[in-house]
């Protein structure tokens, strides 16, 4: 199977280039990550991140044939050859497929992705009804792979100011949490022409999310909450 992989080592290369690899696949190679590990065995200078190899850790997010996804859960049989592999778009490249995620995590931190509740904690746990718990479905499953934010043009243009779909999904995850008490502060934090309203609902994020989540819907619900607060 033929692969074209983005290569760039800032210490050695003047500019990035695409390198071709023709790989003899084994019958046990099902996912793209299996092929990449085989390529890595052929050429150990190729750099990529991977860890759990089953779509849970979010390390091996990359641009596969023009669409962001996780190498470990992308089936080789679904890919057109030559398979073009590039790093996540819009992120500074550290080397080959490894990108600098600092900006992405800075935005994630900016929404305070933790429960804010100043009342003394009960002996066991803060309880929720099954309905209240159900509100968090489709929100808490995010693995922060950055596939969504790096497919969003608004995030490409303003990564320092726009929170991005991943961060906003997490912002809504805590706005929707019945145990959280910082609703007003969270909404204040997001009511900004850049932080929230750069989203123009083009739904690239929904298209690429490997966990099948819907950040656009969550962003819409944040806007609903802001409207309810205002009118």
């Amino acid at each position: 199977m033929l692969f074209k992989i983005y290569r760039y080592d800032p210490d050695k290369d003047a500019k990035p280039y695409m390198q071709e690899y023709d790989v003899e696949l084994q019958s046990t190679d099902r996912m793209l990550l299996d092929a990449l590990i085989r390529i890595k065995a052929m050429d150990d200078t190729l750099s990529l991140r991977r860890s759990c190899r089953e779509g849970v850790c979010g390390s091996d997010a990359m641009n596969i044939n023009g669409k962001n996804g996780l190498a470990c859960i992308t089936k080789l049989s679904d890919l057109k050859t030559p398979v073009e592999i590039r790093p996540l778009p819009g992120m500074p490249v550290i080397r080959d497929l490894v990108v600098d995620m600092s900006q992405f995590f800075k935005q994630y931190h900016s929404v305070k992705p933790f429960l804010v509740n100043d009342t003394p904690p009960p002996d066991k746990e803060r309880k929720q009804s099954p309905e209240e718990r159900a509100e968090l479905d489709g929100l808490y499953e995010c693995i922060l792979c950055a596939c969504c934010s790096t497919s969003c043009p608004s995030f490409w243009w303003n990564p320092d100011k726009f929170v991005g779909p991943a961060g906003l999904l997490q912002a809504y995850r805590f706005l929707a949490d019945s145990r959280d008490q910082a609703t007003s502060e969270r909404l204040d934090n997001l009511e900004d022409p850049y932080r929230l309203f750069r989203c123009h609902s083009i739904m690239n994020c929904v298209d690429v999310c490997p966990k099948g989540l819907n950040p656009t819907k969550a962003i819409g619900k944040i806007k609903d909450m802001l409207v309810k607060r205002m009118v």
């Binding site: 320092d160 934090n189 009511e191 900004d192 850049y194 932080r195 750069r198 802001l226």
Partner: protein, 115 residues
């Protein structure tokens, strides 16, 4: 000087809402206007004048234009925010756009009530 990213202007919701409301106004007017033009079916200048003859028609047409200009202002401002990184230039462009749209509004009034 500290190169800090500055956000937190605490506006944006109204603009977002205004863009939705003005879009509805424009959509409803467009459908209404096509039907009205279809019914009156003007063949000459007098016929077109007849479409805008009643005062209420001039008022709703003006509302359409004001919605269009307000909608355009938010859209164009968003483009400036994405692509024009120099604050002074962005402010300058925003002021020019506002003045231009204000002039268009006055011009629309002149056209609608001037014949």
């Amino acid at each position: 000087m500290v190169r800090r990213t500055i956000t937190g202007a605490h506006y944006g919701l109204k603009d977002w809402l205004v863009q939705r409301v003005t879009a509805v106004v424009m959509a409803v007017f467009s459908i209404f206007f096509v039907i009205r033009a279809w019914v009156i079916c003007p063949s000459d200048y007098i016929g077109w004048v007849a479409i805008f003859e009643p005062s209420w028609m001039r008022i709703v047409t003006l509302l359409f234009f004001l919605s269009l200009f307000w909608h355009a202002w938010i859209g164009v401002r968003d483009i400036y925010m994405d692509y024009v990184k120099c604050t002074a230039l962005r402010l300058g462009l925003q002021v020019v756009t506002i003045l231009l749209l204000a002039a268009y509004s006055l011009w629309a009034i002149q056209i609608l009530w001037g014949f």
